[in-house]
Each structure stands twice: as structure tokens, then as C-alpha cells.
Symmetry: C2
Subunit: 313 residues, 2 copies
């Protein structure tokens, strides 16, 4: 079932005791640079440094006590794994995380640091899925998919809900798109809260499956995409694609150079640490492929998880 605004409101109540209500920041020099009034919804300042905590937390707290006791599981090496591990830790239940054995140690340590129980497997999709299946059978844990899950989509939509509560008179909302969980939740919240609001996605040119899927009318996955925006490598899911088709005006692609320039500019001028995936959303304004001049534009920053030892400038 496609989540509704009511589901997003319920998610907001559910996660309220555990998630940060992140601030909405403005930056005059950014406004001047891109020629619009920009409102940055700072999910980089969310728990685990990413919006992912909203969806994971909503999923974990949607479980009955009986379900919860058996734990949750997922395969991921990114922010979703950390988010699920933390949400489970807060509820006091196990989180089983399947990770490829070649995942960077910083990601392993982060998941372990939040108390996630990691099972390593070969770095293939088959190995990840079969390992996850085995763990589900053994433990009875509930699978929480990173985006193709109604509870997760509803949770991600709470960022846009808060943004529009704080800044009701937006003309446009921009979110980055990978698997589409954030984008679809954003689209549901924004279009139901404000008639006529435009929802636009930013996507890396080098991982433009959503752009191509919208054009073709079917999900066209990316094959081994390579982009600095490593949170946006995944392709759309069967839950998220129809929502995006119906409620998102367009997908705008952003170049790798544009992502890095935007990221550096936001660090320098807005004084916040954003990850490349966040810069993809701001990059829609930066590269000006579409005209948003003079409009009031809310931008959902996905997160701020970057390796400070490997900055791209």
C-alpha cells in the first residue's frame, strides 16, 4: 500500500522521542549564487548523520512487541545499516546486518558501534540475499528494506513534513534520489500538504536510472554506476517508482564536477558538513539546468557522512 500523509503524520509521532527535529538553515550567499530563496532541511544533523534514521526508526517502532523481540535485519553497508542498528539499539532489540566482506572498515566500525550484529558475506548480490534469507529463517527477524518498504517511506516523509511546518510557503521542494525512499516520502508529504507545490529530484548524471526510468515509463536500473555520491548508487524500487512517476515533476541530473563544487560551497558558506548526495540536491539549483529563479525552494539534505581524510578538492 502506498503511504499517505496520515501515515507520515503517524510516523512523525512515533519517531518524535528518538529523532532530532533538524533545523532549516538559510544562507544569503547561496541565495545570491543560485538566484532563489533556499531553505536547507538539515538531515546531515539527524541522528547517524542522515535522514535514514527516520525511516529505520519508524519501521522499528511500528513492530509489535512480539515481532520486535525477534529483531530486525537488512543487507546494507551504508547509512541505512547504521540507522537500523541505532533504532534497534534504542528499542533494545537485535539488528542483524549483512555486509560484504570488502566493506570499508569505517562502515563496519560505525555499524558495530551502534550495536549492529554483522554477518559478512561475499561481495555479490546473490551472497547478500542468501545470507540475509538464512538469518531471517534462523532468527525470525523482520526485514527492513532501505527504501522499498512503506514504513521506511513514511518515516522519510517526516523530513518534508517538518520542513513545510517550518516554511509553509515553499514553491518547490528538491530531494536527492537513489532508491527513492526519501524522494517518494517527500513527494507524498509535500503534495498533500500544499496544493501545487513542485517536487523535483536531483540525481547524479553518472547514476541516472531515475531520470531514464521516468523517460521510459519503466524501472531502468543502473548497471555498476560510479559517482562520488555513493548514497545514490541504488536504483528505484517497485514501491517508490509509481509514487515518483505520479508526484514528482522531473528528475534533474547533476554532473560530478557540479556535485563537488556545490558541496565545497555549502561547507564554506553555510558552514555545514554535507555528503555528496546532499550536494546533488543543492546542485539542481547550482547548475541551473532548469529555471527556479526567484522561487522559494526547500532542499532536503540527505546527510553528512564523509571521510574527512579523503575530501574531493
Amino acid at each position: 500500500m502506498t503511504p499517505t500523509l496520515a501515515d507520515i503524520r503517524a510516523a512523525a509521532e512515533r519517531i518524535k522521542p528518538y529523532a532530532h527535529r533538524t533545523p532549516v538553515l538559510t544562507c544569503e550567499s547561496l541565495n545570491q549564487k543560485v538566484g532563489a530563496r533556499v531553505f536547507l532541511k538539515c538531515e546531515n544533523l539527524q541522528k547517524v548523520g542522515a535522514f535514514k534514521f527516520r525511516g529505520a526508526c519508524n519501521a522499528v517502532y511500528s513492530l509489535t512487541n512480539e515481532e520486535a523481540a525477534r529483531g530486525v535485519c537488512t543487507h546494507s553497508s551504508g547509512n541505512h545499516a547504521q540507522a537500523l542498528a541505532l533504532a534497534a539499539k534504542i528499542r533494545g532489540i537485535p539488528a542483524y546486518i549483512v555486509m560484504p566482506n570488502n566493506a570499508p572498515s569505517v562502515k563496519k566500525n560505525a555499524v558495530a558501534g551502534y550495536g549492529g550484529r554483522i554477518t559478512f558475506c561475499e561481495p555479490t548480490l546473490e551472497a547478500r540475499e542468501s545470507t540475509l534469507d538464512r538469518i531471517r529463517l534462523e532468527t525470525g527477524a523482520t526485514l527492513v528494506h532501505p527504501y522499498n518498504d512503506e514504513r521506511v517511506v513514511a518515516g522519510q516523509g517526516t523530513a518534508a513534513l517538518e520542513l513545510l511546518e517550518d516554511i509553509p510557503d515553499l514553491d518547490v521542494v528538491i530531494a536527492p534520489v537513489g532508491g527513492g525512499g526519501l524522494l517518494s516520502g517527500t513527494a507524498i508529504a509535500a503534495t498533500e500538504l500544499k496544493k501545487g507545490i513542485r517536487v523535483i529530484a536531483g540525481e547524479p548524471e553518472m547514476a541516472d536510472d531515475a531520470f531514464r526510468s521516468m523517460r521510459e515509463g519503466v524501472i531502468v536500473p543502473s548497471i555498476n554506476p560510479k559517482t562520488i555520491a555513493d548514497g545514490l548508487l541504488t536504483s528505484l524500487g517497485t514501491l517508490t517508482f509509481p509514487i515518483i512517476q505520479k508526484q514528482v515533476e522531473q528528475i534533474v541530473t547533476v554532473s560530478e564536477a557540479g556535485i563537488v563544487e556545490t558541496m565545497k560551497y555549502v561547507w564554506e558558506r553555510a558552514k555545514i558538513v554535507i555528503e555528496p548526495s546532499s550536494a546533488v540536491a543543492v546542485g539542481v539549483l547550482w547548475e541551473k539546468k532548469i529555471d527556479l529563479g526567484g522561487l522559494r525552494v526547500g532542499v532536503i539534505l540527505s546527510g553528512g557522512n564523509v571521510d574527512l581524510e579523503k575530501l574531493p578538492w
Copy 2:
């Protein structure tokens, strides 16, 4: 005259239309790391990326129309110059800024970008002061000193006022100390708003004039101090020292390594860009030279102006 809480409240009203009310952020991993409940007052997210805008703005808007028409002036190459230039620009009056001719071009460009009228001079204190005197005579502009000025101190105190409005039950407030404008304003606001609150300053070990001045009971300036916290090179002033003597519990020095570690940790975990001077304040908690275990500690982050091309790690 020493500013009072009433002056700080008046300053808050005066600057309200122009300054950001900056958010107060928390970071669970930082809390665990330092063993206290930390509330970060984010002046790095203030206009021009530093608390300095508060004092400069209060000074500029305290002028009569007649005074204002003749402009304001100062000698500075740092955040105060940018802050004064922007405040003057907003009021529509000239800001005359004297800078040494060897100031980094990034600082020159920043001041010029805010519309400041720069006069370069030889890089000596004598040249700076005589050049400033000449400009004052020629233009009739009002001098706005970076910290030894009641209007500036009252303006800087508005950060602590907001912090205690948001988080009233703090046990301790920590601010960094250079010339003492932020620290003295913070001390006035905090001690008048909450009886028994402890006000503590962080100071670089390598520029410890405030620490030594407190011990000696007289202002003991630093001679050519060298620290990465380049916002804290100045020594206390005749206005700020007596306030600090009376209302600040102690000055805690922070090592250069501690400043860099703290700065990197805050970027990584709190996802905000802070300058070394901000890290000096957090560094008081980080280095644990004094026991603040379990307390509720507000920390005023001075700013976020750093060169992303020259990070110290």
C-alpha cells in the same frame, strides 16, 4: 560603562531583524566522548560565519542617523572586519577598514565582498593605528573596536541570552577568549539570567594571556602568540578584563593537538564546520583538565571560517 543584561536585551531587539537566531545542536556521540550533556550554540551559522556580526550589528544600529551617515571604521583583518562591513552595508552606510598589506587575499576579498572600503597599510600596529586615525579625521566615521566597546560586548552577549532562553537549565557556559568581547558579554548575560551558573573560558595554551592575566590580576598581553586558533591571538582589553575577573570562574587552556582533534571530531560527528577558535571552547570538555562530568554545558562556538584547502589533518 560596563554593559548590563538590559543592554544585552536591547541589543537583541536591535539586531533581531538582521542577525540569525542560530540553532542549539546536540550530538550524542560528543556527549559520550566528553561525559557531559553538551549544547552547542552555533555561531558558525551566524551571518559572516561568526558571532562577530552580533556586536558589529549592535554598534552600527546604535548610531544616530547623523553619526551613521559618516560611517564606521576599524582596523582588523579578521571576522570583525567582515562583520562590520556587512552590518554597515545593511544600514546603507560606509565601513572603512584598515588592513595590513600582507593580509591573505581571501580576507581582503571577503571584506570587499561585503562592501567594505579597504585602506591598506604597513603590517605594524603603529601603521594600522595612524592610518585609522587619519581616516577617522577625514571622514568623521565612528570607530567600532572589535571588543573594547560596550556596544560590541552587549551584542556578543546576545548569543548567551538566546542559548539560555532555549536551554534554561545549564550548569556551565563555556566560551573561547581572545580579546574578551564574547566572553564578557556571555558572562554578563549568563550570570544575570541564572544565579550560580558557572562561566568558563577556553584559551589556546599558546596564546594564554587571559589565563596569565587572571593569575596576575593585571592584563598581561601575549607577545607574538602563535596558535592555529587565529581568532584568539588578541589580548584582553581594559573594558573586558574587569568583567572577566569578576564573573568568569576560570580560564582553561587547550593544547594545539587538542584543538585540532576536537575540531575534526565536531566536523565528523556533529556535521558542522567550526573554526579552530570554536574548537578551543569544546576543547575544555575534550581535554578534561577540569571535571565537568555529568553537567549540562552550553558551549558557544565562535564561528566557522576556515580555509578548506588547508585543513590541519
